[in-house]
């Protein structure tokens, strides 16, 4: 009976508080919009990082005429490393075909190649690690005693990791730094939004402080006084969730139409394919924020 009355009172208060209720909904909407923006921004960042990571690899070039058996032994050795995502082998013949295709219109080069008569190119292994930071481990494996003892060292012409090391290291630092800064910025933005929402709700409840005292004086329990404010807070969260999700509909449509190339991801598709998750995150954040803000604000006036 008490719960039913509390819920009913919460809805009636929300309706009767009119403009004040809507002001609180607007502020909560701003906070939830920050959260949705951060979710979308993270999608853009993750997609960009994935694309960059995909472009990073390590290639082992073999000497001309290197034995295919030795190459295959090395390949299976590398594949057995837990850090390795994939290893692809391009034979000397394939390498030549690719070279020819790439320089199809570069007549002097093709002519020079024809004059040599033999294939001047060696085969190569292309290695992709699961994480950018793991290329060093793979490079160390190639230098390790066990690899050298298999005779692999004698067939390796060069490993481009050492040429790309600076770029890979810098990329690593950027990714790690970007994630740290992103987390900090996210945290700061969310904290600021929560403080603004909390203070708006606190201000609203401040105007009700005398009524809270009267409710206590007529013998209402703390729960009976606090409950409707918390339900009202939850309603702010629910309404603000609906408003926020609706607001992001045209925004993501526009971004999907106009900014997909620039952002590297279609945010409209992302928004819709993750709508359920976003809805849950935003709803829980909104309801939690509304209820906890109300709870803390009312507590001040509920001392006795």
């Amino acid at each position: 009976m008490l719960i039913k009355r509390i819920i009913k009172s919460g809805f009636i208060n929300f309706k009767r508080n009119g403009l004040i209720s809507w002001a609180s909904v607007i502020i909560t909407t701003i906070t939830l919009s920050v959260i949705v923006s951060i979710i979308l921004l993270q999608a853009v960042v993750i997609s960009s990082l994935t694309q960059i990571k995909d472009k990073v690899d390590v290639t082992i070039y073999f000497n001309v005429g290197a034995s295919e058996d030795k190459i295959m032994a090395l390949k299976s050795g590398i594949e057995s490393l837990p850090e390795v995502e994939s290893v692809s082998y391009t034979s000397a013949g394939d390498a030549l075909d690719i070279f020819r295709a790439r320089h199809e219109k570069d007549y002097p080069t093709i002519q020079a190649l024809d004059e040599i008569g033999t294939n001047p190119l060696g085969g190569y292994l292309n290695i992709k690690a699961k994480e950018v930071s793991q290329y060093e481990t793979i490079a160390n494996f190639l230098k390790s005693d066990s690899t050298i003892s298999t005779g692999a060292a004698s067939i390796i012409d060069k490993v481009n990791y050492y040429q790309n090391k600076l770029v890979i290291d810098r990329l690593n630092a950027i990714i790690a730094g970007g994630q740290r800064i992103g987390f900090l910025v996210t945290l700061i933005l969310i904290i600021i939004s929560i403080i603004i929402t909390f203070n708006t709700i606190r201000l609203k409840i401040f105007f009700s402080k005398e009524e809270i005292g009267v409710m206590r004086l007529v013998g209402a329990s703390k729960m009976r006084v606090r409950g409707p404010f918390m339900i009202e807070g939850a309603i702010y969260g629910i309404v603000a969730t609906a408003v926020t999700l609706l607001l992001f509909l045209p925004v993501t449509i526009w971004l999907g139409h106009n900014m997909t190339d620039f952002l590297g991801i279609n945010l409209y598709h992302y928004y819709f394919s993750h709508l359920y998750t976003i809805f849950i995150v935003v709803l829980l954040s909104g309801v939690f924020l509304g209820m906890v803000s109300s709870l803390l604000a009312v507590r001040r006036y509920l001392n006795k």
Partner: protein, 226 residues
Amino acid sequence: MIYFNNVSKVYDKDSVALDKVTLTVTEGEFVSIVGHSGAGKTTLVKMILAEAAPTEGTVFFESVDIHKLKSTDLTNLRRRIGVVFQDFKLLSNKTAYENIAFAMEAVGKTDEEIAGDVPHVLELVDLGQKSNHFPHEMSGGEKQRLSIARAIINQPEIIIADEPTGNLDPVNAYEIIQILKKINDLGTTVILTTHNKGILESVKKRVITMENGKVVRDDKEGKYTI
């Protein structure tokens, strides 16, 4: 029923609201507490409601020291007291009906009991036609009658009326006092604070006179002598 034992309330050195007050209110009494503004009347009332704690001394409700009660017990005590304030202290976003229903909900009455009793008590204070009105849509007299209706709805053992006529014209003030007298005739203890001379003369009951936080007179059928 209520016993003040050597109670003092000091806000700061220069502001002594109550100075060693000792008095007893017995069951079924109609006690008027009079005095100028700042005499300590409202502080005295606040002590009974545990809205203010004494600096010294104890206040008993029956055998219970009010200021030693835990929050839950205090809530239960307040349910046994009906309060009427000078500024009405109605819940502004609730209708007349809901204001009274709230007091009933607070003590755990069922919806059926609320639906049965609220219209009845509204009729009793002549507000039957105003049950859906909000306080801001009512006159001062109507608000005070609503405040009394809220105070009596749970049949409390004691009604505390703190300057209930302070904001009312003489006709409305007279009506309010008549309602309080009727409530007292039905057996409820009434504590009234006022500085309205005309009211006291119409009540003809015990009068406690306060001055500078002290009880200076306690007359069985008192008059306004300040």
